[in-house]
């Protein structure tokens, strides 16, 4: 499970304060707020990408982040992140981008083909990523993150720019992953369609 005290993050010299949260194992917390309210910064603080000025973030069995200290292998084992925009190495194919993620995390998931099939993009596995539609890229971005069995999934606006059908695929994917692994999920979004799958909701001002 993930627990965070009220934290103060250092974003390029200015501090931003975030409320405390706690996500029990197998639950999904939806972080809502307008654009610019700091949703991505909060997720990146939990990922250890933005340094903390105050407070701590703890994941059971993986230690805690406090001021300028991020436990070793935090992003390898403790969390996995779906970035706001589907970022890929444009020089690589679909399957190679998944292998790149596995190499970065130091894991060998062995079920990349299964997830690609589930997402309906197995036929595209040898295609260059820039040949995929935005919806396919968003699904691939999620698939890549969910190769990991990390106890916490951070999803930054995972349904942004997705149509109704792709949004449902994404929601199903997150829920299925959650039921399989028992992970805690933190989703930042201003998409009301996600309200139905949330166990908790926190609104940033």
């Amino acid at each position: 499970m993930l627990s965070s005290s009220a934290i103060e993050s250092n974003l390029n010299g200015s501090s931003i304060t975030f409320p405390s949260i706690s996500i029990p194992k197998g639950e999904l917390l939806l972080l809502k707020g307008y654009s610019g309210s700091g949703k991505s910064t909060f997720l990146h603080s939990i990922a250890g990408l933005v340094p903390l000025l105050k407070g701590h973030i703890r994941i059971k069995g993986h230690g805690e982040i406090s001021e300028n200290i991020v436990p070793k292998n935090w992003r390898n084992n403790a969390i996995t992140i779906i970035p706001q925009r589907p970022l890929f190495w444009q020089s690589l194919t679909v399957i190679e981008n998944i292998k790149l993620c596995e190499w970065s995390k130091g894991i060998e998931s062995g079920h990349s083909e299964y997830i690609l099939e589930k997402l309906g993009i197995i036929d595209l596995s040898k295609r260059a990523v820039n040949k995929l539609s935005l919806g396919q890229q968003q699904r691939l971005s999620a698939a890549r993150a969910l190769m990991s069995k990390a106890p916490v999934v951070l999803a930054d606006e995972p349904t942004a720019a997705l149509d109704e059908q792709n949004t449902h695929i994404m929601m199903d994917l997150l829920k299925e992953h959650q039921s399989k692994t028992g992970c805690s999920i933190l989703v930042s979004s201003h998409d009301n369609r996600l309200d139905s799958i949330a166990d908790q909701m926190v609104k940033l001002q």
Binding site: L11, L49, W89, S91, S104, K105
Partner: protein, 387 residues
């Protein structure tokens, strides 16, 4: 090896900038490697040509011209020396491996050189087809002569008067090819070599003269003293080819240093350009590296990718340099002077390249460090959000 693979794919995606960076790098390396080869080639050629030649006796005139004519067989000799006087000098001094030579005619611009039996032993044969001359009208020809004139063993030809092409043939003197030689000493490969008496026969009035006498002196002190003594006590010009060539070499070394410095500057410029290009290359790919960090890749893993990218670029530069060297190698065959200096054994002696190859790889590693450190200072959050 995955880091290598990902680096390779990133490089391949940016083929045009990869070729551009490698070309700049390779231009500097090519200049450096070519100058190194020319330097080694000149030293090697001089060593081979001057082997066992501590003394040159010839007609008075320009010492350099005499060396070029009688040792390198390139220029016209100063003239002839009297056989009787030359033999007197030979008898009076402690000379070893004495070789007497006399220039005769030419055939299609290739010189016919008459020589004594000691000279036959002086030729460093790599290969000999046929036999050494047994009769006065028999000659052996160098491999270059055979290639250019299409003469074969058993063929007969008439010499043309003079060392370099005249049209007047000695209709009475014909020569027969008894063998074809390939010598490690380049000048022998472009000569037609017969006995000294055959040259005298072609010029019946000149049987009492040599063009030059070459000899070895074993005692180091005598190497310095004998040429001066002979010069003082006879009408023959007596010189130490090694001493004279040393003057030429010291001048050549200065030019080599200048060229080497220019290539080195080129290399440094290429390294600086590569450094900045790599930095901008990494800036362009900021989100790629930020993504790796977001996934949990260690700085060491990222360093490996950056390092491999630079080593691949360095490898391309080395490959392009060798393509350039091969182009020079195939292009230089039209020039006799260059082909004598750039001998295969010296030109493709790759052990001389180890230094600059290691230098290139070291530079690839060094130029990876700066961008890698810079990468660690960028805010990952912004790189992920703004990309």
């Amino acid at each position: 090896m995955k880091s290598f693979y990902f680096a390779w794919k990133a490089i391949w995606k940016r083929r045009s900038s990869t070729v551009f960076i490698s070309l700049i790098w390779a231009t500097g390396l090519l200049g450096f490697a070519t100058i190194q080869r020319l330097n080694n080639g000149v030293s090697n050629t001089l060593r081979l040509q001057l082997e066992n030649t501590d003394l040159l006796l010839s007609a008075k005139g320009s010492p350099t011209k005499s060396i070029l004519a009688n040792v390198f067989h390139l220029n016209n000799p100063n003239g002839n020396i009297l056989k009787s006087e030359a033999e007197k000098v030979i008898a009076n001094y402690n000379l070893k491996n004495v070789r007497r030579i006399a220039y005769g005619d030419n055939y299609k611009g290739f010189r016919i050189l008459g020589c004594d039996s000691a000279t036959w032993n002086h030729i460093n044969y790599l290969e000999i087809k046929g036999n050494l001359p047994k009769e006065d009208n028999e000659v052996i020809i160098g491999r270059n002569v055979a290639q250019k004139t299409k003469l074969k063993i058993g063929d007969e030809f008439h010499g043309t008067h003079g060392i370099m092409g005249h049209d007047h043939n000695h209709k009475t003197t014909s020569y027969k090819v008894s063998g074809i030689i390939y010598s490690i000493t380049p000048s022998w490969n472009r000569l037609i070599i017969g006995s000294i008496s055959s040259v005298w026969k072609a010029h019946s009035h000149s049987d009492s003269s040599y063009t030059a006498v070459l000899a070895r002196i074993d005692n180091p002190l005598e190497k310095l003293l004998i040429p001066k003594r002979i010069q003082k006590n006879s009408s023959i010009m007596s010189i130490s080819p090694a001493f004279e060539i040393n003057n030429v070499l010291s001048w050549m070394n200065q030019s080599t240093k200048v060229f080497s410095s220019i290539s080195f500057l080129f290399l440094i410029t290429a390294a600086l350009i590569m450094f900045f290009l790599l930095q901008s290359h990494i800036k362009e790919r900021l989100s790629d590296y930020a993504l790796l960090r977001a996934f949990g890749a260690s700085w060491l893993k990222i360093a490996k990718v950056v390092l491999w990218q630079n080593i691949i670029l360095g490898g391309f530069a080395i490959l392009l340099t060798y393509i350039g060297l091969a182009a020079i190698w195939f292009g230089q065959h039209n020039s006799i002077a260059l082909s004598e200096i750039l001998q295969k054994e010296v030109y493709w002696n790759l052990s001389n390249d180890i230094k600059w190859i290691f230098g290139c790889i070291a530079l690839s590693i060094l130029t990876s460090i700066g961008p890698w450190i810079w990468l660690q200072r960028i805010p990952l959050h912004r790189a992920l959000v703004d990309s």
